[in-house]
Symmetry: C2
Subunit: 415 residues, 2 copies
């Protein structure tokens, strides 16, 4: 699928940044034989659809049912990332929102997060981003009945009491958990759904299967001969990272967690610095400012133990790696920190397995005076250490045309 | 107080590492006028007592009631750090365990954590540390009625299912939260206490005072003239970092959180990489291995937002700072990352305020063959960005004698 982004019309100034998007739908030991063509097509179609919809909104357009487009105020990075993840949360293919897995006791405990940074120290044109930057990031955990956990994370991020709005649930807390924040979700007008809405047969089968073999099911062990391989494809934490036209980068992530996890287990998805991160900084002895956003998926406990997202960000920020692609590979690529953290358990227990997506961009310090020039570009990158990672992203080809791509493995599915 | 550690007797080999301990009892905008001499003496006496007891156990001795000492198996870093924090949890002076603050709805939600690393890649003589290194760290959160949250964190760290011990609560989860892990605490034989045991008048007064002024009380704003200043001294997250004679470093931390926090708020204390960290690594292009352990205290939400502990560790690990002291100062010292993160809210809301303690040590790669030499030394360090930090630590003087010290401010209390 190819979409050409024309320069905006004479009435609106050229956006300073060219919107960029990357989405993931889970990583781990997924192999070709576990994704038959029909299933691959379902993943491909959904990821490309959500990617395209997100890019369109970032560009200030909205597609009607009949395919015509109308102009709207361009979405900020936060709203675009939350839009993408909300679509994934409603899609039973993924382990989040409606398609969430069950805990050991047969309940749902969903988790989500949003984090943001800005390439321009004084972000303009995005009130929500300005407000979000005060708190930087927020994670919500142990949620039942909230249709869109990622939207609750967005509210927790934006509602803060720095202006003295105490009461009404506003606070400077970044991590909120369980029944109380669920009640705030209702108070704030977010949509609630009964337990039945979150029931899917596939997740229930995984749950029962897991109970049969012990306290937890390991999605990364290979199925035995004759077993239904589709039952094993239950990775599926989702995430989206966006760069908007004002130079803000946001990362949004959502998950149902690990099948048959202990109730009360908190994974990496809602935990700042482990399953997500976004940060901008002035590069020392340079006249540039850099920024990145990251979203992780995989064996969450491993990501927690190595503070995966913050570890990758630190490699770039502290100059140990030159590019975000290299930093991500050092943590989540083959032989990287996550794999090493598993020690002799690598490949046996699923530990260490997963992937990271991200966007990085760089601006000269005088970017604010350069409005007439070409928009500044972001770069979507990713790596994973095992099998594959379901992902879709925007990428510029040799002619400067932005393409929307989707892949599951290192090579194309159809070769 | 001065204690001389004699070389061990002829029958036991010289320990490879000289035990080191540092303890904190909270940091923030505590000023001399808020700690009258009687109160200072209580803090001083308790911190020095707990420090001394911890050092004694690390050295393989136990003091009887009459002051005589008996030889015991030396404590590992984990057990020593958990011992120190357990004592602090029973002491109403500190905001943890029995002295925990109340949430907005008048309940207790305690948090704690333990993390460990080893200077020797193959740790010897400490089965608990070997087992802990598989999971590295663990945090527990939203706890009621558990007398010693830090002991529950220790159990979560040590109980893991890598050997196939599924069921019985064993898992590879590092973050466990709420009622289910409380039930595991009972199953595992940890001591439980009724709500009344955790009631203290001082914390209740703070709670009521906070309700009167809004949704949360800010411990870092200065009291108004005429107000009872002792009511404001409610910082008091506690922590301990130890280096044991086998070269293991452990960090243990415990807190009641923030007075009148929203129920379900998770702070930095139980969150890997924000309120605590421990890590060892081989220094690139060098023949040494370094290690550190960290425990934080202060405005927890700020520590979460900047992934404070992992940020400090990364500065040292990635070579941006040469010493742990410098790395801690860059994050938690005056003008550091935490202070900067508060922006214009610095000094107004309490945001960014706090401190970090830590231990670092370094060994040559051939340390295992050097048993006959002098024991390798650790160094206890700390910094804080505002007012003071209650802390006690072991430090070698010019004559090689280990001293046990306690301070609240940058200068001595009695000048």
């Amino acid at each position: 699928m190819t979409v050409t982004y024309a320069a905006s019309s004479e009435s609106t100034p050229q956006p300073r940044f060219r919107p960029t998007v990357i989405i993931h739908g889970g990583a781990g030991n997924i192999v070709r034989s576990r994704i038959p063509p029909e299933l691959y097509e379902r993943y491909r179609a959904s990821l490309l659809k959500y990617l395209h919809s997100t890019v369109t909104l970032l560009n200030g357009e909205q597609e009607e049912g009949d395919g015509t487009k109308k102009k709207i105020t361009p979405y900020s990075a936060i709203d675009a990332a939350v839009h993408a993840v909300s679509l994934l949360e409603d899609d039973e293919l993924y382990n989040c929102g409606r398609g969430s897995v069950f805990t050991l006791t047969g309940t749902h405990e969903m988790e989500a997060s949003v984090m943001v940074c800005s390439l321009l120290p004084e972000t303009q044109g995005c009130e929500d981003v300005k407000r979000a930057l005060i708190k930087r990031g927020a994670g919500v955990m142990m949620l039942k009945n909230v249709r869109h956990p990622v939207q609750l994370a967005r509210e927790v991020l934006l509602r803060n009491d720095v202006e003295g709005h105490r009461g009404n649930g506003e606070s400077m807390h970044s991590h909120l958990c369980g029944p109380y924040v669920e009640s705030l979700a209702k108070e704030w007008g977010l949509e609630s759904k009964p337990d039945e809405w979150f029931f899917t047969q596939k997740r229930w089968d995984e749950h029962m299967k897991g109970l049969g073999k012990g306290a937890s099911i390991d999605h990364d062990t290979l199925p035995k001969p004759g077993e239904d391989i589709s039952k094993y494809l239950s990775q599926g934490t989702v995430g989206c990272v966006c760069l908007d036209q004002w130079g803000n980068i946001a990362a949004a992530t959502s998950t149902g967690g690990l099948t048959n996890k202990l109730p009360g287990r908190i994974g990496d998805t809602p935990t700042l610095g482990t399953g997500y991160w976004a940060e901008a900084w002035d590069v020392p002895s340079s006249s540039t400012r850099r920024a990145l956003g990251l979203s992780c998926t995989g064996n969450g406990d491993s990501f927690v133990r190595v503070a995966a997202a913050h570890s990758a960000a630190s490699l770039l920020k502290l100059g140990a790696k030159d590019s975000l692609a290299d930093a991500i590979t050092a943590i989540a690529g083959p032989g990287g920190e996550l794999q090493r953290s598993a020690g002799p358990r690598w490949g046996v227990t699923g530990e260490g397995s997963g992937g990271i997506i991200g966007i990085e961009a760089e601006v000269p310090h005088d970017a604010e005076e350069r409005q007439s020039e070409e928009p500044i570009k972001g770069k979507a990158v990713f790596d994973f250490n095992r099998g594959g990672m379901l992902r879709a992203w925007t990428e510029e080809d040799a002619d400067g045309v932005l393409r929307e791509r989707m892949m599951a493995f290192r090579d194309e599915y159809y070769s």
